[in-house]
């Protein structure tokens, strides 16, 4: 990689400094009367030309605001359940801390939340219980994004089950969670979590033929099967390799029937037709980035 230009390094550094003053007040971050840092002014003075109506710092601030407004909005939009569970104040504190420590590493804003769950699991502003639950919620919410844009592999026909390597579609995201965070969708706030048993659960998130997402709780035994299958197996060998005790044959058949009906199974390594029922009106948010966004009145 070539060396970065000094002016670019400084400019980017200024963008990632915390929002201040009126720019901050236009967001839902906790307000602060603190002005820009000496570093911000120093970068502006060094590289940016003032004009008749705006100082160098004011001009740089326009970019600073846009940077923050864009990433704050984008990340918040991707974690609505976490926002509901944590409450607005904690949520925005978490989002700001995360973005301060981890600027985007991807070409698309869809991936902005990639490291959010891990960040939450270590956050010092949360207690142990919040950490455990919020991390689990964030994993679920990010899995929706991963499922949304995942590759569609070929769906197996009956004959393929005998002679082809079978796996799980990449859009099926199997999560093993330390707490039943899938329940939070139906909760109005975090209060029920304090009375909820801390049992680990497995959930699968997948993409339906309409492109919309589904989530379902998976019993542990079935989840174990699915995890093994995800790596790709020949079914003729698969059943001889399973650890004892084997589930009942009828149970396994029932699982396979469910997976096939949901479109979870795939032929490993074969790309499938990316076909969807696009005539069905789209109800969900479509995770897409755009260069343009509204700019709150300064």
């Amino acid at each position: 990689m070539k060396q970065c230009e000094p002016w670019q390094k400084d400019f980017f550094q200024a963008l990632t400094l915390p929002l201040r003053g009126s720019s901050r007040k236009a967001t839902e971050l906790h307000p602060s009367d603190e002005g820009h840092s000496v570093e911000f002014f120093s970068i502006a003075e060094k590289w940016i030309k003032p004009n008749q109506v705006l100082s160098a710092a004011e001009r740089l601030e326009l970019y600073h605001r846009q940077y923050w407004y864009r990433i704050l909005d984008s990340l918040a939009e991707d974690f609505p359940v976490l926002r509901k569970m944590s409450g607005d104040q904690v949520f925005w504190d978490l989002i700001e801390q995360y973005l301060l420590t981890r600027p985007s590493q991807s070409f698309t804003l869809r991936h902005l939340g990639e490291g959010f769950a891990v960040f939450l699991s270590k956050s010092e502003i949360l207690n142990n219980q919040q950490r455990r639950w919020f991390e689990a919620i964030a994993r679920i919410e990010y899995a929706y994004m991963e499922s949304f844009e995942a590759l569609q592999s070929a769906l197996p026909q009956a004959a393929d089950l005998e002679n082809k390597m079978i796996g799980i579609q990449r859009h099926v995201r199997l999560l093993h969670l330390p707490v039943p965070a899938d329940l939070c969708v139906d909760w109005e706030d975090f209060a029920p979590a304090y009375h909820c048993p801390h049992e680990s659960v497995s959930v699968a998130i997948w993409r339906r033929p309409s492109g919309s997402s589904g989530i379902v709780r998976i019993p542990n035994e079935e989840a174990c099967f699915l995890s093994t299958l995800a790596g790709g197996v020949f079914l003729t060998e698969f059943f001889t390799q399973l650890p004892e005790p084997h589930p009942e044959a009828a149970q396994v058949s029932s699982w396979f029937a469910d997976w096939q009906a949901r479109g979870w199974l795939c032929i490993k390594g074969e790309q499938g037709l990316n076909a969807f029922d696009i005539d069905e009106p789209w109800q969900e948010k479509q995770a897409m980035s755009s260069q343009a966004m509204s700019f709150p009145q300064p």
Partner: protein
């Protein structure tokens, strides 16, 4: 008129940006739009509904790719993974050309998701053109650079923006996507005459024109793409057509997006301006009366 090498030999009329709120209307009603522009990064995915919708729209319409993440002005150079993803999408869409922005946007792998301004120096022009030559060679398709809206100028500028745009595109031997709204926005923010800009650019390189609305504040204008096109921008458009001839024209509307019909009616206004201007350019030719 643009050299055909900058447009892949394709002549396009009026288009609009393909946006999610209009998907259902387009698929159901199949409106008579000349072409759609897509934001490349929105479809740089492995699979899913977005690609399925795109495939379906491509069955009916010409699609042209417009990117927001190439960042040819990055000091770190180009992200080859990004170019590989772009090339894959180019093969899928059969776009006649692709465009992106004359800007920078990331440092050492951290991404701003913004179109950040470049200092207008000969050194930056040379380095950016070098990146663009690499990109065009790799992508094997005509590439056009769009002038961005900007809110800041650098202390080390050595030339005007229009000189910089021309210098980079000449050095890289690529086309120009002339955004007349961006020219207007920057002219207000930096205090220059926008006609000077339109009058200077090498007209044979202009493969496409963008029109859009913006938000005006007391001391600056922000390029929000959330309003109709204002009259001074239409005047710039008319002058661009006078200089460049009939050019593929696209309306951008990215926030507070109204109905498909409203966006399309706004885009179609460009046909009136374009035809009037073309008639003035060549009175002997029969351009559609308005």
């Amino acid at each position: 008129m643009a050299d055909s090498r900058f447009t892949g030999g394709k002549m396009l009329g009026t288009g609009i940006g393909l946006r999610v709120p209009h998907y259902d209307h387009i698929l159901r009603e199949k409106p008579a739009v000349d072409w759609f522009e897509i934001i490349s990064e929105n479809y740089m995915v492995e699979g899913g509904r977005a690609l399925a919708v795109l495939d379906s729209i491509m069955d009916q319409y010409q699609v042209v790719m417009h990117g927001v993440g190439m960042y040819p002005g990055n000091g770190n150079g180009l992200d080859m993974d990004h170019l590989r993803r772009l090339k894959k999408l180019i093969k899928r869409t059969n776009t006649p050309w692709i465009s992106d922005h004359l800007c920078w946007g990331s440092v050492d792998g951290s991404v701003s998701h913004d179109l950040l301004p470049l200092p207008f120096t000969f050194d930056v022009a040379r380095k950016t053109a070098e990146n663009l030559r690499i990109a065009q060679d790799f992508l094997e398709i005509p590439l056009a650079m769009e002038n961005i809206s900007s809110y800041a100028e650098f202390t080390m500028d050595e030339m005007t923006e229009w000189q910089f745009l021309s210098e980079v595109c000449e050095l890289a031997n690529i086309g120009i996507l002339l955004d007349v709204n961006n020219i207007y926005v920057s002219s207000f923010n930096h205090g220059f005459d926008p006609m000077d800009y339109v009058n200077f650019i090498p007209s044979n390189r202009v493969a496409q024109i963008h029109i859009a609305g913006h938000s005006r504040y007391e001391r600056f204008i922000i390029d929000t793409h959330d309003h109709p096109v204002i009259d001074p921008v239409w005047q710039l458009y008319a002058r661009a057509i006078e200089r460049c001839g009939s050019t593929a024209t696209l309306l951008e509307w990215d926030a507070s997006i109204p109905s498909f019909e409203e966006v399309w009616q706004e885009a179609k206004k460009s046909e009136k301006w374009r035809n009037n201007q073309l008639r003035e350019n060549e009175p002997s030719k029969n351009y559609e009366a308005v």
